[in-house]
């Protein structure tokens, strides 16, 4: 039950994030969730939004480097240890986690975006541990 994510390469320079955000805003793109990974030189902006293909072509036309990836959205009870349950289930299935970020918390359920090296194995492992993964449809209704 994978969800599409767009990643954008951003130079680590003043104003670069503002520029890409303005571009998306001017094109009426609603960002459901985002995270930024950064190093000294560059950052990767990751976006969950509707109509991924359209957003991707807007970015590409403006000259950005982008890539689309499938990520999982795990929905667990918003308790201390929510992340631990997910991480342990994936570790036990020998799946490596690249990164995790929060998408939303609704009705005491936290939705976490999880990027792993193997979505199928990870989804099965989560299901096996009783952790639900949310569909694209579901997350945009939250």
């Amino acid at each position: 039950m994978a969800v599409k994510q767009i990643s954008v390469f951003i130079q680590n320079k003043k104003g670069r994030l503002a520029k890409v955000s303005r571009l998306l805003a001017d094109n009426g793109v609603y960002i459901r969730a985002l995270s930024i990974a950064d190093t000294q030189d560059f950052g990767i902006l990751r976006l969950i939004c509707e109509d991924v293909d359209k957003v991707n072509s807007i970015l590409k036309e403006a000259g950005y480097l982008t890539t689309k990836t499938d990520v999982l959205v795990a929905a667990v009870k918003d308790d201390p240890g929510a992340l631990a349950i997910i991480a342990e289930a994936l570790r036990d299935a020998d799946v490596s986690i690249e990164y995790v970020y929060e998408l939303a918390t609704v009705d005491n359920i936290v939705y976490l975006v999880v990027r792993v090296d193997d979505n199928q194995v990870a989804a099965a492992a989560l299901a096996g541990a009783g952790i639900r993964t949310a569909s694209e449809e579901e997350i945009f209704k939250l």
Partner: protein, 435 residues
């Protein structure tokens, strides 16, 4: 089968060429001694008289001229004729040190253009060709030189100058250009733009390109040939010696034939000034043989290369020079190691990156640092920091293997390294700021 613009010169025997060179050298030395006080003083200082120069074998007796001499003599000190006999000047951009201003009489211009014409014909050019000159026009010698050569061959000449790349491609398509002349970095950029416009080499009629005025690698040649669907020919020259056309490549693509009837070449040891035998690597030195306005005797080019008289399949007997392996001006000494930017470029292209790069050298705590900025391509971008960092490391390692020093590699977004439409700026040496 090869075509020649001036077969009587281009395929002359070595003996014929040497005899012609000797005859011209005697005259040129006399002309310089009588008209150029600056050089006369150098000769007097060395105790050499024009009568001592009887043939090319006496060349070594003459003093060298260097870029520093050109600076000292700026602007008129090396002028070989009255200004009223001159019809043209060309000049370097002056990016390193003071600019060089070269003067031309009408005869100088004609001979220069003939040299360029030989290059165009060697690249397959005839009066049936449409030659797009996308070198900069103006003070820079690239545009005017190839423009004149193209006229001499009788090509339909498109004096486009550089820049406005989409318009270049439009003209190229509408007027069916078959030959393009520009800097190699601009040729690469045209190829890239063609692709961006959704076009392929099949959509244009180019068959050959003549590229010079900056160093380029064999990898870059293959890239350009592929992206434009052409055969790419190198051309060499310096403003000091007239401009492009001092030497040019033939279809063998294994070095550039020197127009020896106008330029006498030597290779010297850059440290001692000693003349080295054919086949040795060293600094290229030129002596003009026909110049009226700006004659230079034993001018040190700072270009490191090799000369060869090996028989060429094109039938030309003119001596060949290798592509310069670096300029002593461009040579960076980083942590005591000699580094040429072209070496780094070779690694980048081999590793699948573009030739858009910037080298930054600095000094931190008395140690030289080398930072290499390279544009990431769409195929190489991945979603995790880990993978991009791994690519940076792999590239740094490949550069280290080539140079023996460890660089810091920075992958940057496409089109963030300034594009060149003329000469590329590839090196920023910040150490100079501290000295």
């Amino acid at each position: 089968m090869s075509n020649y613009y001036q077969p009587e010169i281009e395929t002359a025997s070595v003996e014929e060429i040497k005899a012609l060179q000797s005859e011209k050298l005697v005259k040129q030395v006399k002309h310089v001694y009588e008209n150029v006080k600056y050089y006369r003083d150098l000769m007097d200082e060395k105790g050499v008289k024009p009568e001592d120069i009887k043939s090319v074998d006496d060349l070594h007796k003459l003093p060298f001229l260097t870029k520093a001499d050109l600076r000292d003599a700026y602007p008129y000190g090396l002028l070989g004729t009255d200004l009223k006999n001159c019809v043209r000047i060309q000049s370097t951009s002056g990016t390193t040190g003071r600019r060089v201003v070269a003067f031309y009489t009408q005869k100088d211009v004609d001979l220069w253009e003939e040299c360029c014409a030989r290059a165009i014909v060697a690249a397959g050019g005839t009066n049936g060709d449409v030659c797009q000159v996308a070198y900069g026009y103006g003070l820079f010698t690239g545009g005017p030189g190839l423009n004149g050569g193209s006229h001499k061959v009788g090509c339909l000449t498109l004096p486009m100058s550089s820049g406005n790349t989409e318009r270049q491609i439009q003209f190229m398509r509408d007027l069916h250009s078959t030959i393009i002349c520009c800097t190699p970095s601009y040729a690469a950029y045209i190829g890239e733009t063609l692709k961006e416009m959704g076009l392929t080499p099949d959509d244009i009629d180019l068959k050959a390109g003549i590229f010079g005025a900056e160093p380029w690698t064999e990898e870059m040649r293959r890239d350009i040939e592929k992206s434009l669907g052409i055969k790419a020919y190198d051309i060499y020259g310096l403003t000091e010696t007239s401009g492009p056309g001092v030497s040019f490549e033939c279809e063998e693509q294994t070095g550039m034939h020197i127009n020896e009837d106008h330029f006498l070449a030597e290779i010297i040891d850059p440290e001692t000034g000693e003349v080295l035998p054919e086949g040795s690597k060293g600094e290229l030195v030129f002596t003009s043989l026909d110049k009226e306005a700006f004659p230079l005797l034993r001018y040190r080019t700072r270009d490191i290369c090799v000369l060869s008289r090996k028989k060429c399949s094109c039938g030309r007997t003119l001596i060949k020079m290798s592509k310069p392996m670096g300029r002593s001006d461009d040579m960076l000494i980083i942590r005591g190691v000699n580094v040429f930017p072209s070496q780094i470029e070779t690694v980048l292209l081999k590793e699948g990156y573009t030739s858009n790069y910037l080298i930054e050298v600095d000094r931190e705590h008395n140690t030289d640092t080398l930072d290499v900025y390279v544009e990431l391509t769409s195929e190489q971008f991945s979603d995790t920091v880990k993978e991009i960092s791994a690519k940076e490391k792999a590239l740094a390692n490949a550069i280290k293997i080539m140079l023996g020093i460890n660089p810091k590699v920075h992958l940057v977004a496409p089109k963030t390294i300034t594009r060149s439409e003329g000469k590329a700026v590839r090196v920023i040496d910040k150490r100079k700021l501290h000295d």
